[in-house]
Symmetry: C2
DNA sequence: TTTTTTTGATTGCAAATAGCAACTGGTTGT
DNA sequence: ACAACCAGTTGCTATTTGCAATCAAAAAAA
């Protein structure tokens, strides 16, 4: 049985991705085309391998990502976004926009964010379509 | 000096509100009209008073909320959203929308979220205006 | 075939964070 | 005077994170 602090929408989201790593992992899969454990491990923020293992399992259990064996490489797994994971796109865009406005971001690290803000809803729909094609198998 | 894991917009947001409580506190101030320590302490999720103290100080230091003495009550403080805090409104709406769609929310706890989704951009602008009036002193 | 490298993890331990209950000095209403 | 209330602190335990070393299986190189 699941035991939640409350059934409030904000809280239920926070209980899942309210930590220091989940959104970093989702960012890697969603925007950086990272699909393998090792690629995610090499993020700039230097996530530890045990934490990465833990979060990938959690995100899979929560229905945000899915995992399947890589047919091209017997010891690799391919991590994909589920429909729920892809639906986090607008949220990621909002986060990017807010940080762009209110944090001292590194301009070199904002290509995706700037493009997504400027591209508006149409670009977002385009990216959404691509994500669906590449992730929903 | 500030030491960040990276200058990426997603990461800089996660470093601030990537925990189990910050967004719960912001929700209380933004949607439930909570302006005093005691009101925030009585959230359904039962935040501990030391954590609340810590997060309020952090959110103030990060420029998301501000704090001033309550003129009507010498031992109370009034917590307000800053402009950056108010700019989190679209993010909160996205979170609500996502949870409404992908989590098993408690219908009784979704009045705000449902209203904000259905109300669209116009309602959001209206609420934004009210927040500005009540919080930016 | 043997060796080396790479894969997604696991382990052990220190440090940081969260959770919990009791408590504080000061303020307020009666 | 006094009980209730205020934001916040303290002391303690439990859980989570950070970090480095390590693992067996599979793949690549020799």
């Amino acid at each position: 049985m699941e035991n939640h602090r409350s059934g409030c929408p904000i809280n239920l989201m926070v209980e899942v991705i309210g930590d220091k790593w989940s959104l970093i992992i989702i960012r890697g899969i969603m925007f950086d085309g990272k699909r393998h454990f090792r690629e995610l491990l090499n993020s700039e923020e230097k996530i530890a391998s045990n934490i990465l293992t833990d979060r990938l399992n959690m995100l899979e259990r929560e229905g945000i990502i899915s995992k399947r064996p890589d047919p091209e490489h017997k010891q690799k797994y391919i991590y994909s976004l589920t429909a729920a994971g892809i639906d986090l796109l607008p949220l990621m865009v909002e986060i990017g926009g807010w940080s762009l406005k209110h944090r001292r971001v590194d301009p070199a690290k904002c290509k995706h964010a700037e493009m997504l803000i400027k591209g508006g809803k149409e670009l977002q729909k385009e990216i959404r379509k691509n994500l669906a094609k590449e992730h929903l198998h």
